[in-house]
Symmetry: C2
Subunit: 143 residues, 2 copies
């Protein structure tokens, strides 16, 4: 068995995100970002201009939007096209590679919307339980 075959057998792929030295870690790190996910999700419906994205993704700053777009561009997930209008127009769009991600990204980004009520209930229960424990601690301390 070759080395590659071994790794393919053991880890399903030649790469393994569970390994810290694996380059996939850096890629996952970039995808596992609130803003990157929202941008990719927003581009699913078609190309968008810089300020269009900034307007729709509430609370993102110009700096962070630029940074995130650059990273996505470097990883080959989005393209950046400059039109020589006056003033310039810049359009961002998904690449074919980026498009392979959108379904997954959309699922994750919108899971929160669909399950918000359940999450909120869980949080309330957790916090109530924590408060009860804290109360117990105080009583024990008094003894």
């Amino acid at each position: 068995m070759t080395d590659d075959a071994l790794r393919l057998h053991a880890g399903r792929y030649a790469y393994n995100v569970y390994e810290d030295k694996c380059p996939t870690r850096q890629v996952l790190e970039r995808l596992a970002d609130k803003w990157a996910l929202l941008i990719l999700d927003r581009l699913e419906t078609g190309p968008q201009r810089f300020n269009g994205l900034k307007r729709e993704i509430k609370q993102i700053t110009q700096k962070v939007l630029t940074q995130t777009l650059r990273k996505l561009e470097r990883d080959g997930l989005v393209t950046r096209t400059v039109y020589a209008t006056k003033p310039v127009t810049v359009e961002y769009a998904l690449t074919a590679l980026g498009a392979t991600l959108t379904e997954t990204v959309a699922a994750l980004a919108h899971w929160a919307e669909q399950n918000m009520d359940a999450v909120a209930a869980a949080q309330a229960a957790y916090d109530a339980q924590e408060a009860r424990q804290a109360e117990l601690q105080k009583r024990v301390h008094r003894l």
Copy 2:
């Protein structure tokens, strides 16, 4: 049209992650985390002990693992069960709610493994292009 109906019509759901004040943002923020994704993915195959997770998710520290597990527990995605062995055994497992996420999480976590080569190629092309631009800048500067 009621307020809710309006929002359902405009945003597909009553919640909208694109809004900064929406509670779904915080949930997405917690999911959009490298470690949270790896933990959820790891739990898909069944309950895991604390140190088991720590061992398999390479490079995660005890502190971060604890923090992340607490957040996931608070959001109702994982359960924490303590067994009164000596010393104690703590087992983490997915809740039903958490289980609804694993397919999506797995897709995202492993997308990197499957597309690493394409991403690496894109990065190389991007970096080469950048280097060329920098070279041009130096020449312009000399004039």
